[in-house]
Symmetry: D2
Subunit: 282 residues, 4 copies
């Protein structure tokens, strides 16, 4: 539903691979709410995905950029400013990848070059894009920058591996840079800690289906979907949330504040029963 909540606003969206991506939904809904957007992704992701289709649907241009490359980011921000005819208002960072996860290196057997890449792609890229934005003075006063995070930054989930550390770093960057960009230009920087979401990016994580079921039964409102997330991100880009900054905002149906729900416990109890039955057979 359109409220024209982002009427007149312009923004740059990283990480829309395909229609399952949260960034994709944000792009669609930002435009529906009156915004103009520029899309970006790495050349590889552009080839693998279907971003051109999104660009067509949203009247956006696509500017390829490797978010770990400052040179690429400089061209990207120049290109976006040229396209918009000046400064713009919001940025979405929806980027994460762990070569350690991809190559099956467990957390107690990390490859440190891979770890450096995990951090560079999933967290430091956020610093780089903000530093470039600020040095080019690319954002309007009271602009809004959002990165997508996950509760693994606070609590360990087996199999999430070095992405947990990357998310902790990402959230710290939001605070550290939020202070500086806020005091100078009133630009706010936040992270949204989203429910586990069946995107292409998430699919490498071990045992994700069971984990998503657990999260869903733990959360009183169930897992937040990619569409839900896009709606929430819109509010953070809007003028109604101008004084929210340096926060990690849980958008997860209540999961982060749950210790144990009855629904999840019922299932766990079944597993327990089965376990004891199996044990008593022996």
């Amino acid at each position: 539903m359109s409220y024209n909540l982002l009427k007149g606003k312009k923004g740059l969206i990283f990480g829309a691979l395909n229609e399952h991506s949260i960034a994709w939904k944000v792009a669609l809904q930002a435009v529906e709410q009156g915004a103009q957007i520029v899309l970006t992704n790495t050349p590889v992701s552009i080839r693998m995905g279907t971003i051109d289709q999104l660009a067509e649907q949203t009247g956006a241009v696509v500017i390829p950029a490797d978010a770990t490359s400052v040179a690429d980011l400089e061209k990207l921000f120049d290109g976006a400013m040229e396209h918009f005819g000046g400064k713009f208002d919001f940025v979405l960072h929806s980027i994460g990848m762990s070569p350690n996860v991809r190559k099956g290196r467990t957390y107690d057997d990390l490859d440190y070059d891979f770890l450096t890449k995990t951090l560079d792609i999933s967290a430091i890229s956020f610093h780089k894009m903000i530093q470039v934005a600020r040095q080019k003075d690319a954002l309007n006063e009271w602009g809004s920058i959002v990165a997508l995070s996950y509760i693994a930054a606070q609590r360990t989930l087996y199999g999430y591996n070095d992405m947990a550390d990357a998310k902790a770093l990402l959230e710290s960057i939001a605070r550290s840079f939020g202070y500086i960009y806020g005091r100078e230009k009133h630009v706010r920087i936040n992270t949204v800690s989203q429910s586990p979401t069946p995107t292409t990016a998430g699919s490498g994580v071990l045992g994700l289906n069971d984990l998503m079921d657990f999260a869903d039964r733990m959360s009183p409102l169930g897992n937040a979907t990619a569409e839900d997330c896009a709606n929430y991100v819109l509010t953070l880009f809007s003028d109604l949330t101008r004084k929210v900054t340096m926060q990690n905002l849980f958008h997860d149906g209540g999961f982060s504040s749950m210790g144990m729900s009855r629904r999840a416990m019922q299932l766990y109890g079944k597993g327990l029963e089965l376990e004891y039955r199996d044990i008593s057979k022996h």
Copy 2:
């Protein structure tokens, strides 16, 4: 600016004493965003304040109720449902008062009857209104309940006294009831932890002016005003934040994530200089 963000929604607002109140601003802006509202306050507060003026401005009715009285709350929710012709969508709790603060009892010399009252008025009233709402099935699916809180719930500020404990209790109630109301009716419950705000309620707190200056210089975006807060609360009442629940959301210009800002430190450094100058004279 109206986005019709709350078009078709109906809500109940506690605690609009006068035009300085956050609840007052929420009422105004909710109506501007398309909502219908019912206002409520204690009979005493209604006499002391100017709520009738707000009611006129917003086309609202005023139903007096003491939020610590379950009987009053039952009449209030019945009255609101009758007025709206059925269920409604949102509730704002903006209530807090400490007889210990008022009577100058310090935290190491609390009167325990007063403490019971502080907790009843400032926190348990929140449980009571939710319990009544739920027992009367007064809220629509995906309704939204918000209470205003303060960072004293997490960090001690001298002079804030037993209101700190009341806010901690309030935030806990939001989580505890958020689980239950969420799983059953998808009603979400959150608290907004707002910057110190020059309302009538806040005026009893010791040294509030200096504290507000400190908070302002610590926060990269400055203190959030009552208007800012109302804007933010609107997003939480809207359909765009449906999966946010059981959260305490800092709306404070970044204060909660600050350890020390340059601006605040400069002033502190001046005080320090003066102190050492004074000492060296002796």
Copy 3:
């Protein structure tokens, strides 16, 4: 094993009902570490339990007191000071009870008189004992006060009911009073957030056995036992932790920092399998 860690120290211990109580273990081990102690509990608990046996074992006196009664607490602190021949060094608060839980009132149907009692017994009693201690100047400089808490203060566990809110209030009181008692007398105040423990007090909570199994499989080190907890509390009473105050310290085998462990997920996965098997039969 005795390190004489509390040699020369004297302390007051609330809440040792029987040999399953954490307070019981703290008493035993404090004495083993060289401390002298005074034991206290309500007259009812003294009758129901076996505290006299503990007193004999530890050479302690027992002074009955209802921790919700300021008059009782005053007599207790006077009695303890008389017994010790002056000020003492540490206090343990291990008290919690919810009439709502006992009477089967669920959180959406609380009896508010019961809630007031839950808060008074489980949280405000902590304020009362500290206020009395301070007004009588009963504690030595760098004394240490500890209360036992539970993670329900931060995260909702179904069935834990209004005890969650009581624990949140308890932890807030530790912070609020920790500031005042710290700045004046260097007395530190902390809460220990302990694993679910099979004590008599915990036995009223719904589905506790399954929950304890879940917590155990979630925690890399397993649930902390009452003995473990006593050991940890000793360190907080010792001179080695003098600068730790106003903290809630998780003593839980890692549970509080876990999102999902492999062990717990394996069991959950079994329950899930069973669920889908049952569904597919229909």
Copy 4:
């Protein structure tokens, strides 16, 4: 005072540069409590500092190692095991350095090679040493690993720069690896978030003296010293804290739980007065 708290234990201590270092105090006190230790530092730090003096005092050997080099760490753990004649019990990580801070690069103008180094030295080194320890099975069951951190991991302090992000990463590594090492070998991993301390390492941070004064006046117990910290770390190496893991433990005189103290506010108020006096002159 010796309690023989670490009697029979053996440990490895990183980062004792000179007598101001926290690691230095930990080494001294660990030995006083009955432990045997191995000291390590980078070759450069060994030359710059006075670690040989500490080795003599404590009967320790010094094995040089660059903690960012896995090869060096492997030799170090081999050497320590050889020296101890087998496995050992505890490890202290007290390492941090930011080339960006040293070279005066502000947070909005980071050099990314420097940032990579900051993270590698101050955080990833922690992962590397744990991974090496685990792969060599160097630690006894119920061993204890501690790293020193700072509240900048949670709250932004101007001038602390990319060290804040490094500390956030460090704390995340403690959680992530704490899960794995805990479930397998019951080795616990924690970080201690220490008051600002006048060590050589801290001296590069902008405005540290004023900040330390502020922290001291904010904290009810004042800043924790390096000696205090060493005492606290001993408890974490002892058998009394076996079920504490994956925690970030504030050892800061209460600072982390303070919003504003009267003492700090008095000084701030003086600065404020001066500011207004200056303004009114113009």
